[in-house]
Symmetry: C2
Subunit: 224 residues, 2 copies
Protein backbone atom coordinates (compact mmCIF):
# COMPACT_ATOMS: atom_id res chain seq x y z
CA UNK A 1 0.00 0.00 0.00
CA UNK A 2 2.73 2.42 1.04
CA UNK A 3 4.68 1.43 -2.04
CA UNK A 4 1.64 2.16 -4.23
CA UNK A 5 1.18 5.58 -2.62
CA UNK A 6 4.84 6.56 -3.11
CA UNK A 7 4.71 5.43 -6.70
CA UNK A 8 1.59 7.47 -7.37
CA UNK A 9 3.04 10.57 -5.69
CA UNK A 10 6.21 10.26 -7.74
CA UNK A 11 4.23 10.17 -10.97
CA UNK A 12 1.88 13.02 -10.00
CA UNK A 13 4.28 15.48 -8.40
CA UNK A 14 7.09 16.83 -10.60
CA UNK A 15 8.72 18.18 -7.40
CA UNK A 16 9.24 14.62 -6.14
CA UNK A 17 12.82 14.74 -7.40
CA UNK A 18 13.42 17.88 -5.35
CA UNK A 19 12.48 16.19 -2.08
CA UNK A 20 14.86 14.43 0.26
CA UNK A 21 14.30 10.73 1.01
CA UNK A 22 12.96 11.69 4.44
CA UNK A 23 10.53 14.22 2.93
CA UNK A 24 9.29 11.68 0.39
CA UNK A 25 8.67 9.17 3.13
CA UNK A 26 6.87 11.68 5.28
CA UNK A 27 4.76 12.93 2.39
CA UNK A 28 3.68 9.35 1.65
CA UNK A 29 2.97 8.77 5.35
CA UNK A 30 0.69 11.83 5.30
CA UNK A 31 -1.25 10.55 2.30
CA UNK A 32 -4.28 8.29 2.54
CA UNK A 33 -6.40 6.51 -0.05
CA UNK A 34 -10.00 7.58 0.21
CA UNK A 35 -13.26 6.86 -1.58
CA UNK A 36 -16.10 9.27 -2.19
CA UNK A 37 -19.53 8.14 -3.32
CA UNK A 38 -21.21 9.69 -6.37
CA UNK A 39 -22.50 13.14 -5.41
CA UNK A 40 -20.70 13.25 -2.08
CA UNK A 41 -19.34 16.61 -1.00
CA UNK A 42 -15.55 16.64 -0.80
CA UNK A 43 -14.85 20.25 0.11
CA UNK A 44 -16.79 23.36 1.05
CA UNK A 45 -16.12 26.63 2.81
CA UNK A 46 -17.19 25.20 6.16
CA UNK A 47 -15.18 22.02 5.68
CA UNK A 48 -11.81 23.38 4.77
CA UNK A 49 -8.53 21.96 3.73
CA UNK A 50 -9.04 18.26 3.20
CA UNK A 51 -5.76 18.56 1.32
CA UNK A 52 -4.40 18.07 -2.18
CA UNK A 53 -6.34 15.37 -4.02
CA UNK A 54 -4.96 13.05 -6.68
CA UNK A 55 -7.83 11.53 -8.62
CA UNK A 56 -7.15 7.82 -9.18
CA UNK A 57 -10.57 6.95 -10.57
CA UNK A 58 -13.82 8.83 -11.11
CA UNK A 59 -13.81 12.61 -11.17
CA UNK A 60 -14.39 15.76 -9.15
CA UNK A 61 -16.57 18.76 -9.94
CA UNK A 62 -15.66 22.24 -8.69
CA UNK A 63 -18.47 24.76 -8.40
CA UNK A 64 -19.65 28.03 -6.89
CA UNK A 65 -22.87 28.18 -4.91
CA UNK A 66 -25.06 31.21 -4.31
CA UNK A 67 -26.76 31.89 -0.98
CA UNK A 68 -30.01 30.52 -2.38
CA UNK A 69 -28.32 27.28 -3.45
CA UNK A 70 -27.82 27.93 -7.17
CA UNK A 71 -24.74 26.10 -8.47
CA UNK A 72 -22.35 27.05 -11.25
CA UNK A 73 -19.86 24.42 -12.35
CA UNK A 74 -16.40 25.96 -12.71
CA UNK A 75 -14.35 23.01 -13.94
CA UNK A 76 -13.80 19.31 -13.49
CA UNK A 77 -10.78 17.36 -12.30
CA UNK A 78 -10.68 14.11 -14.28
CA UNK A 79 -8.99 10.81 -13.52
CA UNK A 80 -5.25 11.43 -13.28
CA UNK A 81 -5.79 15.08 -12.36
CA UNK A 82 -4.67 17.06 -9.32
CA UNK A 83 -7.12 19.11 -7.26
CA UNK A 84 -5.46 21.99 -5.42
CA UNK A 85 -8.43 24.13 -4.39
CA UNK A 86 -9.36 21.48 -1.81
CA UNK A 87 -6.16 22.68 -0.10
CA UNK A 88 -6.73 26.38 -0.81
CA UNK A 89 -5.96 27.25 2.82
CA UNK A 90 -2.28 26.50 2.15
CA UNK A 91 -2.14 28.99 -0.73
CA UNK A 92 -1.94 32.57 0.52
CA UNK A 93 -2.88 34.08 -2.81
CA UNK A 94 -6.16 32.15 -3.00
CA UNK A 95 -8.71 34.10 -1.00
CA UNK A 96 -11.94 32.63 -2.37
CA UNK A 97 -13.55 29.33 -1.68
CA UNK A 98 -15.36 26.83 -3.84
CA UNK A 99 -17.34 23.63 -3.43
CA UNK A 100 -16.04 20.30 -4.67
CA UNK A 101 -18.14 17.14 -5.10
CA UNK A 102 -17.38 13.66 -6.37
CA UNK A 103 -19.19 13.51 -9.68
CA UNK A 104 -19.37 9.72 -9.58
CA UNK A 105 -17.82 7.06 -7.34
CA UNK A 106 -14.32 8.43 -6.97
CA UNK A 107 -11.05 7.17 -5.55
CA UNK A 108 -8.46 9.69 -4.48
CA UNK A 109 -5.17 9.94 -2.71
CA UNK A 110 -5.57 12.64 -0.12
CA UNK A 111 -2.35 14.48 0.75
CA UNK A 112 -2.88 16.03 4.17
CA UNK A 113 -2.76 19.83 4.08
CA UNK A 114 -0.76 20.23 7.29
CA UNK A 115 2.35 18.49 5.99
CA UNK A 116 1.85 19.74 2.44
CA UNK A 117 1.70 23.27 3.78
CA UNK A 118 4.99 22.74 5.63
CA UNK A 119 6.67 21.38 2.48
CA UNK A 120 5.32 24.24 0.41
CA UNK A 121 6.79 26.80 2.81
CA UNK A 122 10.19 25.08 2.71
CA UNK A 123 10.49 24.03 -0.87
CA UNK A 124 10.04 26.45 -3.73
CA UNK A 125 9.42 23.59 -6.19
CA UNK A 126 6.38 22.46 -4.20
CA UNK A 127 5.10 26.03 -4.24
CA UNK A 128 5.82 26.31 -7.94
CA UNK A 129 3.83 23.15 -8.69
CA UNK A 130 0.87 24.29 -6.57
CA UNK A 131 0.79 27.69 -8.24
CA UNK A 132 0.91 26.13 -11.70
CA UNK A 133 -2.04 23.86 -10.92
CA UNK A 134 -3.83 26.98 -9.66
CA UNK A 135 -3.07 28.88 -12.88
CA UNK A 136 -4.47 25.93 -14.85
CA UNK A 137 -7.65 26.15 -12.78
CA UNK A 138 -7.79 29.90 -13.48
CA UNK A 139 -7.62 29.21 -17.22
CA UNK A 140 -10.42 26.64 -16.96
CA UNK A 141 -12.58 29.04 -14.97
CA UNK A 142 -12.05 31.86 -17.47
CA UNK A 143 -13.14 29.61 -20.30
CA UNK A 144 -16.26 28.58 -18.39
CA UNK A 145 -17.04 32.21 -17.58
CA UNK A 146 -16.77 33.20 -21.22
CA UNK A 147 -19.26 30.46 -22.06
CA UNK A 148 -21.64 31.46 -19.30
CA UNK A 149 -21.40 35.21 -19.76
CA UNK A 150 -21.21 35.42 -23.51
CA UNK A 151 -22.86 32.20 -24.67
CA UNK A 152 -21.75 32.38 -28.22
CA UNK A 153 -19.86 29.45 -29.53
CA UNK A 154 -21.63 26.63 -27.66
CA UNK A 155 -24.94 27.86 -29.04
CA UNK A 156 -23.54 28.10 -32.55
CA UNK A 157 -22.08 24.60 -32.32
CA UNK A 158 -25.32 23.14 -30.91
CA UNK A 159 -27.25 24.68 -33.81
CA UNK A 160 -24.71 23.33 -36.29
CA UNK A 161 -24.90 19.78 -34.86
CA UNK A 162 -28.72 19.79 -34.83
CA UNK A 163 -28.84 21.08 -38.41
CA UNK A 164 -26.44 18.38 -39.56
CA UNK A 165 -28.25 15.45 -37.93
CA UNK A 166 -31.58 16.71 -39.22
CA UNK A 167 -30.02 17.11 -42.68
CA UNK A 168 -28.43 13.65 -42.75
CA UNK A 169 -31.15 11.88 -40.75
CA UNK A 170 -28.48 10.12 -38.70
CA UNK A 171 -27.74 10.17 -34.97
CA UNK A 172 -24.05 10.66 -35.61
CA UNK A 173 -21.96 13.09 -37.61
CA UNK A 174 -19.11 11.69 -39.67
CA UNK A 175 -16.92 14.79 -39.73
CA UNK A 176 -13.53 15.60 -38.26
CA UNK A 177 -13.16 18.57 -35.92
CA UNK A 178 -11.15 20.22 -38.68
CA UNK A 179 -14.07 19.89 -41.09
CA UNK A 180 -16.59 21.18 -38.55
CA UNK A 181 -14.33 24.17 -37.89
CA UNK A 182 -14.16 24.88 -41.61
CA UNK A 183 -17.94 24.69 -42.00
CA UNK A 184 -18.42 27.02 -39.03
CA UNK A 185 -15.68 29.48 -39.93
CA UNK A 186 -13.91 28.72 -36.68
CA UNK A 187 -10.63 27.15 -35.54
CA UNK A 188 -10.12 23.42 -34.98
CA UNK A 189 -8.89 24.01 -31.43
CA UNK A 190 -12.05 25.91 -30.54
CA UNK A 191 -14.29 23.18 -31.97
CA UNK A 192 -12.33 20.40 -30.23
CA UNK A 193 -12.46 22.14 -26.90
CA UNK A 194 -16.19 22.74 -27.11
CA UNK A 195 -16.92 19.19 -28.30
CA UNK A 196 -14.92 17.84 -25.35
CA UNK A 197 -16.99 20.06 -23.09
CA UNK A 198 -20.18 18.66 -24.68
CA UNK A 199 -18.83 15.15 -24.12
CA UNK A 200 -18.14 15.81 -20.44
CA UNK A 201 -21.69 17.09 -20.12
CA UNK A 202 -22.96 13.82 -21.59
CA UNK A 203 -24.36 15.52 -24.70
CA UNK A 204 -22.21 13.82 -27.33
CA UNK A 205 -19.80 10.90 -27.55
CA UNK A 206 -16.62 11.43 -29.54
CA UNK A 207 -14.67 8.94 -31.62
CA UNK A 208 -12.21 9.40 -34.46
CA UNK A 209 -14.03 11.32 -37.20
CA UNK A 210 -17.41 10.86 -35.49
CA UNK A 211 -19.64 12.91 -33.20
CA UNK A 212 -22.48 10.82 -31.81
CA UNK A 213 -25.47 12.61 -30.28
CA UNK A 214 -26.36 11.26 -26.84
CA UNK A 215 -28.66 13.94 -25.49
CA UNK A 216 -30.50 15.73 -28.27
CA UNK A 217 -32.79 17.53 -25.84
CA UNK A 218 -29.82 19.21 -24.17
CA UNK A 219 -28.54 20.31 -27.57
CA UNK A 220 -31.96 21.78 -28.39
CA UNK A 221 -32.03 23.65 -25.09
CA UNK A 222 -28.60 25.02 -25.86
CA UNK A 223 -29.57 26.13 -29.35
CA UNK A 224 -32.53 28.17 -28.12
CA UNK B 1 16.40 57.55 -15.17
CA UNK B 2 18.11 54.16 -15.12
CA UNK B 3 18.64 54.55 -11.39
CA UNK B 4 14.94 55.31 -10.90
CA UNK B 5 13.96 52.23 -12.91
CA UNK B 6 16.27 49.92 -10.95
CA UNK B 7 14.98 51.31 -7.69
CA UNK B 8 11.36 50.76 -8.75
CA UNK B 9 12.08 47.21 -9.92
CA UNK B 10 13.79 46.41 -6.63
CA UNK B 11 10.75 47.57 -4.67
CA UNK B 12 8.21 45.82 -6.90
CA UNK B 13 9.90 42.48 -7.49
CA UNK B 14 10.60 40.32 -4.42
CA UNK B 15 12.81 38.13 -6.65
CA UNK B 16 15.22 41.08 -7.14
CA UNK B 17 17.46 39.63 -4.42
CA UNK B 18 17.61 36.33 -6.31
CA UNK B 19 19.04 37.95 -9.44
CA UNK B 20 22.70 38.40 -10.24
CA UNK B 21 24.05 41.93 -10.73
CA UNK B 22 24.18 41.30 -14.48
CA UNK B 23 20.56 40.09 -14.53
CA UNK B 24 19.40 43.13 -12.57
CA UNK B 25 21.15 45.43 -14.98
CA UNK B 26 19.71 43.67 -17.99
CA UNK B 27 16.21 43.63 -16.53
CA UNK B 28 16.44 47.40 -15.97
CA UNK B 29 17.80 47.87 -19.49
CA UNK B 30 14.75 46.01 -20.82
CA UNK B 31 12.32 48.22 -18.92
CA UNK B 32 10.90 51.47 -20.26
CA UNK B 33 8.71 54.18 -18.75
CA UNK B 34 5.53 54.59 -20.75
CA UNK B 35 2.38 56.71 -20.58
CA UNK B 36 -1.10 55.66 -21.59
CA UNK B 37 -3.93 58.15 -22.04
CA UNK B 38 -7.26 57.67 -20.28
CA UNK B 39 -9.21 54.93 -22.07
CA UNK B 40 -6.27 53.81 -24.21
CA UNK B 41 -6.00 50.10 -24.90
CA UNK B 42 -2.89 48.56 -23.34
CA UNK B 43 -3.33 44.90 -24.21
CA UNK B 44 -5.65 42.73 -26.25
CA UNK B 45 -5.61 39.29 -27.82
CA UNK B 46 -4.36 40.69 -31.13
CA UNK B 47 -1.74 42.87 -29.47
CA UNK B 48 0.02 40.40 -27.28
CA UNK B 49 2.71 40.53 -24.72
CA UNK B 50 3.50 44.17 -24.10
CA UNK B 51 5.15 42.79 -20.98
CA UNK B 52 4.81 43.01 -17.21
CA UNK B 53 3.47 46.42 -16.18
CA UNK B 54 4.25 48.23 -12.94
CA UNK B 55 1.67 50.94 -12.38
CA UNK B 56 3.40 54.11 -11.18
CA UNK B 57 0.36 56.39 -11.41
CA UNK B 58 -3.20 56.00 -12.63
CA UNK B 59 -4.71 52.55 -12.96
CA UNK B 60 -5.48 49.70 -15.35
CA UNK B 61 -8.75 47.90 -15.96
CA UNK B 62 -8.79 44.23 -17.02
CA UNK B 63 -11.88 42.98 -18.82
CA UNK B 64 -13.38 40.30 -21.03
CA UNK B 65 -15.10 41.21 -24.28
CA UNK B 66 -17.73 39.23 -26.13
CA UNK B 67 -17.81 38.93 -29.91
CA UNK B 68 -20.54 41.56 -30.03
CA UNK B 69 -18.45 44.00 -27.99
CA UNK B 70 -20.01 43.59 -24.54
CA UNK B 71 -17.43 44.20 -21.79
CA UNK B 72 -17.18 42.67 -18.34
CA UNK B 73 -14.68 44.22 -15.95
CA UNK B 74 -12.69 41.49 -14.20
CA UNK B 75 -10.47 43.50 -11.87
CA UNK B 76 -8.39 46.62 -11.61
CA UNK B 77 -4.66 47.12 -11.10
CA UNK B 78 -4.22 50.23 -8.95
CA UNK B 79 -1.24 52.50 -8.48
CA UNK B 80 1.63 50.44 -7.08
CA UNK B 81 0.20 47.24 -8.54
CA UNK B 82 1.71 44.70 -10.92
CA UNK B 83 -0.10 43.61 -14.07
CA UNK B 84 0.95 40.16 -15.25
CA UNK B 85 -1.79 39.26 -17.75
CA UNK B 86 -0.31 41.81 -20.15
CA UNK B 87 2.55 39.30 -20.33
CA UNK B 88 0.34 36.20 -20.34
CA UNK B 89 2.26 34.76 -23.30
CA UNK B 90 5.20 34.06 -20.99
CA UNK B 91 3.05 31.94 -18.65
CA UNK B 92 2.37 28.49 -20.08
CA UNK B 93 -0.46 27.78 -17.65
CA UNK B 94 -2.42 30.85 -18.76
CA UNK B 95 -4.33 29.89 -21.87
CA UNK B 96 -6.97 32.64 -21.96
CA UNK B 97 -6.66 36.23 -22.97
CA UNK B 98 -8.11 39.45 -21.63
CA UNK B 99 -8.25 43.11 -22.57
CA UNK B 100 -6.49 45.77 -20.55
CA UNK B 101 -7.14 49.52 -20.78
CA UNK B 102 -5.76 52.52 -18.94
CA UNK B 103 -8.67 53.70 -16.82
CA UNK B 104 -7.30 57.22 -16.60
CA UNK B 105 -3.98 58.84 -17.58
CA UNK B 106 -1.56 56.17 -16.47
CA UNK B 107 2.20 55.92 -16.09
CA UNK B 108 3.78 52.48 -16.12
CA UNK B 109 7.12 50.81 -16.21
CA UNK B 110 6.95 48.25 -18.98
CA UNK B 111 9.19 45.21 -18.48
CA UNK B 112 9.73 43.69 -21.92
CA UNK B 113 8.29 40.20 -22.20
CA UNK B 114 11.22 38.75 -24.19
CA UNK B 115 13.79 39.21 -21.43
CA UNK B 116 11.27 38.60 -18.65
CA UNK B 117 10.37 35.30 -20.30
CA UNK B 118 14.04 34.32 -20.40
CA UNK B 119 14.49 35.16 -16.69
CA UNK B 120 11.33 33.28 -15.80
CA UNK B 121 12.56 30.14 -17.55
CA UNK B 122 15.89 30.33 -15.70
CA UNK B 123 14.83 31.47 -12.27
CA UNK B 124 12.10 29.74 -10.28
CA UNK B 125 11.75 32.82 -8.02
CA UNK B 126 10.72 34.89 -11.02
CA UNK B 127 8.29 32.21 -12.11
CA UNK B 128 6.76 31.86 -8.64
CA UNK B 129 6.33 35.62 -8.32
CA UNK B 130 4.52 35.70 -11.67
CA UNK B 131 2.30 32.79 -10.67
CA UNK B 132 1.47 34.44 -7.33
CA UNK B 133 0.39 37.63 -9.06
CA UNK B 134 -1.69 35.39 -11.33
CA UNK B 135 -3.29 33.65 -8.32
CA UNK B 136 -4.14 37.08 -6.89
CA UNK B 137 -5.83 37.93 -10.17
CA UNK B 138 -7.71 34.60 -10.00
CA UNK B 139 -9.01 35.53 -6.54
CA UNK B 140 -10.15 38.94 -7.77
CA UNK B 141 -11.88 37.41 -10.77
CA UNK B 142 -13.69 34.87 -8.60
CA UNK B 143 -15.01 37.64 -6.40
CA UNK B 144 -16.22 39.59 -9.41
CA UNK B 145 -17.86 36.49 -10.85
CA UNK B 146 -19.73 35.83 -7.64
CA UNK B 147 -21.06 39.38 -7.76
CA UNK B 148 -22.04 39.11 -11.40
CA UNK B 149 -23.51 35.62 -11.28
CA UNK B 150 -25.20 35.69 -7.92
CA UNK B 151 -25.82 39.40 -7.35
CA UNK B 152 -26.66 39.18 -3.73
CA UNK B 153 -24.64 41.30 -1.42
CA UNK B 154 -24.15 44.35 -3.64
CA UNK B 155 -27.91 44.55 -4.09
CA UNK B 156 -28.52 44.17 -0.37
CA UNK B 157 -25.95 46.85 0.43
CA UNK B 158 -27.36 49.23 -2.19
CA UNK B 159 -30.84 48.80 -0.69
CA UNK B 160 -29.47 49.36 2.81
CA UNK B 161 -27.65 52.58 1.79
CA UNK B 162 -30.70 53.95 -0.03
CA UNK B 163 -32.95 53.15 2.95
CA UNK B 164 -30.56 54.89 5.31
CA UNK B 165 -30.18 58.11 3.30
CA UNK B 166 -33.93 58.28 2.75
CA UNK B 167 -34.42 57.68 6.49
CA UNK B 168 -31.94 60.32 7.61
CA UNK B 169 -32.55 62.73 4.73
CA UNK B 170 -28.79 63.20 4.35
CA UNK B 171 -26.46 62.52 1.40
CA UNK B 172 -23.99 60.79 3.67
CA UNK B 173 -24.13 57.97 6.19
CA UNK B 174 -22.28 58.42 9.45
CA UNK B 175 -21.69 54.78 10.26
CA UNK B 176 -18.56 52.64 10.48
CA UNK B 177 -18.24 49.52 8.33
CA UNK B 178 -18.53 47.54 11.54
CA UNK B 179 -21.88 49.15 12.32
CA UNK B 180 -23.20 48.62 8.79
CA UNK B 181 -22.17 44.97 9.00
CA UNK B 182 -24.02 44.61 12.29
CA UNK B 183 -27.18 46.21 10.85
CA UNK B 184 -27.03 43.95 7.82
CA UNK B 185 -26.16 40.76 9.67
CA UNK B 186 -22.94 40.48 7.70
CA UNK B 187 -19.19 40.62 8.38
CA UNK B 188 -17.16 43.83 8.47
CA UNK B 189 -14.72 42.47 5.87
CA UNK B 190 -17.54 41.78 3.45
CA UNK B 191 -19.01 45.26 3.90
CA UNK B 192 -15.61 46.96 3.54
CA UNK B 193 -14.78 45.06 0.40
CA UNK B 194 -18.11 45.88 -1.22
CA UNK B 195 -17.94 49.55 -0.19
CA UNK B 196 -14.46 49.77 -1.71
CA UNK B 197 -15.88 48.25 -4.86
CA UNK B 198 -18.68 50.86 -4.84
CA UNK B 199 -16.05 53.57 -4.38
CA UNK B 200 -14.01 52.34 -7.35
CA UNK B 201 -17.18 52.40 -9.43
CA UNK B 202 -17.71 56.06 -8.43
CA UNK B 203 -20.89 55.31 -6.51
CA UNK B 204 -19.78 56.37 -3.03
CA UNK B 205 -16.87 58.21 -1.44
CA UNK B 206 -15.42 56.76 1.76
CA UNK B 207 -13.91 58.55 4.72
CA UNK B 208 -13.45 57.50 8.32
CA UNK B 209 -16.91 56.68 9.71
CA UNK B 210 -18.65 58.15 6.66
CA UNK B 211 -20.11 56.85 3.42
CA UNK B 212 -20.99 59.68 1.06
CA UNK B 213 -23.33 58.96 -1.86
CA UNK B 214 -21.94 60.18 -5.18
CA UNK B 215 -24.15 58.41 -7.68
CA UNK B 216 -27.58 57.70 -6.25
CA UNK B 217 -28.94 56.64 -9.64
CA UNK B 218 -26.37 53.82 -9.88
CA UNK B 219 -27.37 52.69 -6.38
CA UNK B 220 -31.03 52.65 -7.39
CA UNK B 221 -30.24 50.61 -10.50
CA UNK B 222 -28.33 48.18 -8.33
CA UNK B 223 -31.15 47.86 -5.82
CA UNK B 224 -33.71 46.92 -8.46
Amino acid sequence: MEQMISEHLRKSFPFWENLSAAERQRLAANTVAYKYGAGQNVHSASNQCVGVLLVKAGGLRTYMMSEDGREITLYRVPEGGVCILSASCVLQNITFDVYIDAERDTEVLQVGSAYFSKLLAQNIHVENFSLKVTADAFSEVMWTMEQILFMRFDKRLAIFLLDEISRTGSGALHLTHEQIAKYMGSAREVVSRMLKYFEKEGIVRLARGTVEMINKEALKDMAM
